[in-house]
Symmetry: C2
Amino acid sequence: MPIWIGEQEIEDLAVGAALLGTGGGGDPYLGKLMVQKCIRKNGQIQLLDPTEVPDDQIVIPTAMMGAPTIMVEKIPNGDEALKSLRLLEEKFGRTAFATMPIECGGLNSTIPFVVASEAGIPIVDADGMGRAFPELQMETFNIYGVQGTPMGLFNERGDYCLLDTLDNAMLEHISRGIAVRMGGVAHIAEYVMTGAEVKRTAIPNTISLCMKLGKAIRVANERKNNPIEAIQQVTRESIYGEAMVLFKGKVIDVERRSTDGFVRGKAVVEGFDEFNGEKLHVDFQNENLMAKIGDELVAMVPDLITFLDVETGVPVTTEGLKYGFRVICLGIPTPDIMRSPAALNVWGPRYFGYDYDYEPVENIHKRRVRIG
Amino acid sequence: MPIWIGEQEIEDLAVGAALLGTGGGGDPYLGKLMVQKCIRKNGQIQLLDPTEVPDDQIVIPTAMMGAPTIMVEKIPNGDEALKSLRLLEEKFGRTAFATMPIECGGLNSTIPFVVASEAGIPIVDADGMGRAFPELQMETFNIYGVQGTPMGLFNERGDYCLLDTLDNAMLEHISRGIAVRMGGVAHIAEYVMTGAEVKRTAIPNTISLCMKLGKAIRVANERKNNPIEAIQQVTRESIYGEAMVLFKGKVIDVERRSTDGFVRGKAVVEGFDEFNGEKLHVDFQNENLMAKIGDELVAMVPDLITFLDVETGVPVTTEGLKYGFRVICLGIPTPDIMRSPAALNVWGPRYFGYDYDYEPVENIHKRRVRIG
């Protein structure tokens, strides 16, 4: 049974997606406004469970790529990602049955809703990362054998590119260069796949999980309950593990530079409450990659590391993080499909240049709590 | 009347094109071997005067782009530029009547012959630069109003891109980024135009001029005549002005770096004979841009500045220039179509960051000779 998505659901989605976005995936406020405008114009949008997509129909995922710091300065017209989808429809000579996000994130969970609304097609309740990642080969679609190209890229001017590469690492490499030259951001359609491939490779029901998370935070705030406990309850009942508080404190330093089509940097947080006297260091490349308290690793990719406002539980994105913010740092264990050896090879700590193997956040946490 | 081009003509073409290439346009030896292999396989290649192209037929120019220093290390398979042409044929739903070079240069004058031979189509005796220039908006096709995109780019692996931009400056900007990410070199097809547009915008008969120049140098060497005088005679009878000797000396320094998809740098030559005690400085960005003797400018873009071996008159490309080479530096006045205000706006000294207006090489030369 399809679900119809209205303005309130999008409000919740944007917040929940920013949480799973682990700092990346773009500004949720901007994405929310774009979809709500579409809903007012075109009506509610149909959300399909992956099992409802016929095996032989094609699904074309849509997204933005580039540095989120630039995304907030270059507001989309709203039709760029749809143009990229149309480019691929033309290339294949087939019509998309539905679109789908490639990742969870403030903008990249909402852009496909804009496309679905304008094209009059449903959106599939799934994605290819189960969080946000900085690079385009970091999608379960790639890991489980879907060809990423042909890929369509449009910028806000209307310049476009149809890209075809022999492998998905080259897809990322060339398309990143194009996004940089297009002005730092490109609106894309890629990993065209059949309904059967969606069922086999996508991480299911992440859109509805984002909406549940956003709703839990909203309702907790309305009722003056603890939003962290609300998040923990939703994650406990999902294919993710239960969210855990890694740190609480005040942001005392953020280093951020937009280079090579990414925003890279690190944040330092000075602890308070039970973390008094300690310091948290978080590295990011669009998304938060690694968290250390003092010299001790407490979480690493692909597990989720997310900053929330300490009062409201509302997630803070990489480009929004500022000196003086009082934050909670959450760790959320990723689903098993994201922890296979094939998956860790593409998005584990070693890929990002760290000299250690992946250790699940919940194992580290248990050890620390026991010692503490 | 079409002319049929065989192995000897290609031998001459490669040398003459390297001369008009002013240091750029790639290695003539490599280009020559590629075409001669094609001629042995497919027979002679038809060279058409621009006036012989029907007004409503389409011509698709083909070339390589990137740093010539990389081109000599990544030898093409030979079918890359043809694939880019086929991509544009498919896009337009039309067959190319002919191909054409975009510039004169060792490789870029010969690549379209490979395409013509493999596709079984003629090549038009014209080009879009009348020399070599480093950037793709620096074509008479752009200056006189032809849309450069859609553009096809292939690399030697088979990765490809179909690029469409709103203007030809963006064409250069994005395609340069793609060429860099494709490995430093891309094989391209662009500025698709009608026969009528070829006649209106191309610089006519530059291929046959290259062949005449190459032949003149070869025959002068065979007969132990002065090759410089032979070059002067051919240029005197062309739409270019007569070549003049700007300097003679020994290369004492070459600074060269491959950055942003170009090779940039400068060469210093210590004079001998009548230039004893003087030093020549030449700047290049793929092509030689500016020549100074001491503090005095002696030639600048778009006039041609070319190094020749002092004994044989054979041109030396930017990537071949080495310490100890004994060279003559020639200046050749460009045709009027390349000196219009619109043209100088695109490829005059100010575009390349120099803080002075263009002055024709022959005027500077007359003044220097008079004072000297």
